[in-house]
Symmetry: C2
Subunit: 226 residues, 2 copies
């Protein structure tokens, strides 16, 4: 197997991350690349979700994956097996990516021929929510084993996401105190527009709805720029 390309990104020099994130969004529009910022707790299933998403969409659009991690290239190696282009970003111990760190990854990766780039952010429900990466849309994964109370405890993350995937629904049999209605209600109280989709990246349950959402977003983005 080919080696994973690893780049080390440096802390941003920009004081105003929001303004820089808007600049990066404009730069991405020039190349018609849709950037999805995917966030979650450690172990919620970001990489498994991406592997299945790539399999569903790779014949329709050109996809690239940027794997951000404090250390290791475990995830990028897993993505390489799908045949998708991937790069591993090491954050040098930083617990999140800001817009300039994302740009460093985008430039090194070379994304102008890609329709969809997914940034798999550092596994963390706190810090990544505070930094706009310049992404076109924000997605997060909450996994059933984490519990239905997480919107109460990490409200900002749920507030900034356009779509929330509730993953590992195949384990509802053992996590039988997880209240599906309550979690949707808690998310919509914070963010009435959030799309909430129940999935299992292991079995594929719910993936039609998720892939439809993503396809529609990418298509409308590119048509809007035509």
């Amino acid at each position: 197997m080919a080696d994973v390309r690893v780049i080390e990104v440096k802390r941003s020099i920009f004081e105003d991350n929001d303004a820089d994130a808007n600049r990066l969004r404009e730069e991405l529009k020039q190349e018609k690349t849709f950037l999805l910022n995917l966030m979650s707790s450690p172990g919620a299933g970001k990489t498994t979700t991406l592997k299945r998403t790539i399999a569903e969409l790779k014949n329709e659009m050109k996809i690239g994956i940027m794997e951000a991690d404090i250390d290791s290239d475990v995830d990028a190696r897993a993505i390489l097996e799908t045949g998708a282009r991937t790069i591993q970003i090491h954050t040098g111990g930083m617990c999140h990516l800001d817009a300039d760190m994302t740009r460093q990854g985008i430039r090194e990766f070379g994304t102008s021929d890609l329709d969809l780039v997914v940034l798999e952010n550092v596994g963390n429900l706190v810090c990544p929510a505070e930094f706009d990466t310049g992404s076109t849309k924000n997605a997060m994964i909450l996994s059933v084993p984490e519990g239905d109370d997480k919107p109460l405890k990490y409200p900002l993350m749920f507030t900034i996401c356009d779509v929330v995937l509730i993953n590992k629904c195949d384990t509802l049999c053992v996590f039988d105190d997880f209240d599906k209605e309550a979690v949707v209600e808690r998310i919509h109280k914070l963010n009435p527009k959030a799309e909430v989709i129940f999935v299992s990246a292991k079995t594929g349950e719910g993936f039609d709805a998720w892939v439809d959402w993503l396809r529609k977003e990418v298509t409308e983005y590119q048509q809007g720029l035509a």
Copy 2:
């Protein structure tokens, strides 16, 4: 039910957190209070583990719980039900506690009559690992659904912990790709002295070993100060 007492802690004014953490450890020795810093990802089971731990030890020692959270008092309310003393610390959006924030909680809580204080840190495998809270010992919980690769991806957290609880072992039936030997090997490669204990806070499996470890640590600490 009585209301939960909530305090808002402020960012530390000390530049040298390590030195301040050592000062707090000395202050705690004066009152013979053992401080356990408990860390994990969101939803790994810190609060459920604490509830069962309190039930096992409350007739042997005086226990208090400091619940740190960005928002909400969900966890402190759960602890109140056990009859243990508890306080909710709000971090004002901060993703971790440093030694001075911990001290603010300790002082407000009033811990001099307590044998064991557990600080339930913010759910996050990244930032809390970087800040010594002044605790006597560090503990973390990795839950089976998160996967056996977490020591590869969040190495610092596993390096600084004296004990690692592998929780939700009752779900190994559905997470059958979780490799118990591999996770122990990965933890010990980073931290050969770490105690690794497999438990289920739901069923009580493995709790004898965990409670024995904690009882021994608190006893030796207090005897060493006698």
